[in-house]
Amino acid sequence: MSGASTTTTATEHSDGPLKRFLTRPEAPALIFLAALVVVLSVVADGFLGASNFEGILSQVVVIGIIALAVNQVVLSGEIDISTGSMLGLCAMASGTVAVAGGGLLFTLLAGVAVGALAGAVNGFLVTVARIPAIIVTLGMLYALRGVLLLVTGGTWVTGVPAEARVLGIGSVFGVSLPIIVLFALFIVMELVNRHSDWGRNVLAVGGNRRAAMLAGLPSRRVRFWAFVLVGAAVGIASVIYIGRAGSVQTNAGTGLELQVIAAVVIGGTSIAGGRGSTLAALTGAVLIGVILNGMVLLGIPGVWQDAVLGALILLAVSTDVLRRKLLGDKA
């Protein structure tokens, strides 16, 4: 992975590979992840093993896919905390189509369409109506859950047929399909960030919006599409969700938005925008999966989960600040 998606200064060229790695945004998270894996392998029975690793990965696929997209929003200097309710709504839409016999294609289309629409509403309110993203997506977190309850009247979707569940429980050459989807989307996002105008603009806009605008970058359009992308990603994730669960309840996705944000910032993408990487979002998601799995294996009650998650977010953003200060001093 080269530094195409980082904005750290050009001084890194002269440094050795180790130093270059250390200045990458996801480096602390990767090191922490490696250390945690070593510790858990020693301490926790049943942690080491292919089936447990596969289990961890497939449990973070939904968070990971959404985190890859929210990562773009955060890179562009915005935030999206509506993804939990959005997932519920998308899963309800794709689940309904699946049960009606829509097959995988239409199931996927339904989820992505509903998600993209919700994302477009977010994007419109943020970039055109100029309401701060935190307020927009906080309002939408409640409004979308309300829409979900109103539309369904509280009915659950059950009995999703097997052909629409392939993305959730299928496997190819012994590798579970959701994990393949996650990594495929990771590669797509990495390519987008390296080779497309939009991908580069996201970083520029997030790094310094005024400068980007003066340079003639379409700041609003860039951010708008980032929000739409989140919606589309939630749509894809919803098909994996219904595939794994086989049914959808009205509380689906509750609290998910927090895990997604946690994944992004723990991975090393700066909440201030402009600095981060695709790999950071993925690393963050896996790290959360490992931590949650470790908590179960070590017998730490689930009630502490939020406390651990919150502390980790704070830890991650604080180290980000400290590192910025250190790097700033050097430069």
Partner: protein
């Protein structure tokens, strides 16, 4: 700088005046609409009873107003409420005398506020991220300490905080009125209040002109924590139960009330009078919708939309003010 003098003179004060008049108008319209929908709505008994519900939100909104004026935000207030609730309940269960447990709870609320404030000021982190983190952490601590269990074996006198009446007037309403007066005085009549606005207008400029920015911010977050502590004690007493799910979703009501009241999320603007009106409008809507038999599912949706409309209007108005 020309903007600064202009806003502090006639122009802004007239806008403020009319914005609050608009809010008052909205409130009156809602009250009329609701009383047409439900005959019970416009009775003294109901109105006074309703007041018991907005006191908790109202108290916290006072602190939130100051935070938002400084261009900050606190998403953790609902979780902090749960934390206070659990500290009071479980220290009492563990043998601490109840009066001391209440003090401990309020101190916990204050400490949580200080915690937020320290992260915001010392690390210079955006309050949004800090309080998103503590939003999860405080709630998690509340669930963890309580093991998701509830305490409700409080002695009868504890009901006094949330269930007492003076004549027909609920006790907590009096607490709220006093708190409103105090915070209003601080914000509009003291140097501290001027600092708060100055930070919101332009933090760097404020710092250069000698405003102790860090200390002011720390005090605001701490003060909000203290108000959460107070609100939580009233809440525990009102429902006579302490548990980790207290205040779930509370931040939405509080933020909605403050921005509806005219505070700008970008900082520099907002008044206590506006916030109180915002609190009243939301409380009236909630109570009226319930009495009118509007299904609860609609209320969730309407509240989310109301928040968006309110912020949109605020920023829409503000364009012309520069």
């Amino acid at each position: 700088m020309s903007q600064y003098t202009e806003t502090s003179r006639g122009f802004l004060s007239r806008i403020k005046f009319s914005r609050e008049l608009v809010l008052l108008g909205v409130l009156i319209v809602i009250v009329i609409a609701m009383s047409l929908l439900s005959p019970v709505f416009l009775t003294l008994g109901n109105l006074l009873n309703t007041s018991r519900y907005f006191v908790e939100i109202g108290l916290i909104s006072l602190g939130m107003t100051l935070i938002i004026i400084t261009a900050g935000i606190d998403l953790s207030v609902g979780s902090n409420m749960a934390l206070v609730s659990v500290v009071v309940g479980f220290s009492f269960l563990g043998g601490v005398p109840l009066p001391l447990a209440i003090v401990l709870g309020v101190v916990a609320g204050l400490a949580a506020g200080v915690f937020n404030g320290l992260f915001v000021t010392m690390l210079d982190l955006h309050p949004l991220v800090v309080t998103l983190g503590t939003f999860a952490m405080f709630r998690g601590l509340a669930y963890g300490f309580s093991d998701a269990d509830a305490v409700s074996s409080f002695p009868a006198w504890f009901a006094y905080f949330g269930q007492a009446y003076f004549g027909p007037i609920p006790g907590q309403l009096i607490v709220f009125v006093i708190a409103v007066a105090v915070v209003w005085l601080i914000l509009s009549r003291t140097r501290f209040g001027r600092y708060v606005y100055a930070i919101g207008h332009n933090e760097e400029a404020a710092r250069f002109s000698g405003v102790p920015v860090e200390r002011v911010k720390l005090a605001i977050y701490a003060g909000t924590g203290l108000l959460v502590g107070l609100a939580s004690v009233i809440y525990i007493s009102r429902v006579s139960t302490a548990r980790g799910d207290a205040g779930l979703g509370l931040e939405l009501d509080v933020i909605a009330a403050v921005v509806l009241g005219g505070a700008s999320i970008y900082g520099g603007k907002g008044t206590i009078a506006g916030t109180v009106l915002g609190v009243l409008i939301i409380a009236t809507l909630r109570n009226g919708l319930l009495l009118a038999g509007v299904p609860s599912t609609w209320q969730l949706f309407l509240l989310g939309v109301l928040l968006l409309v309110a912020v949109f209007l605020n920023e829409f108005f503000r364009k012309e003010e520069g």
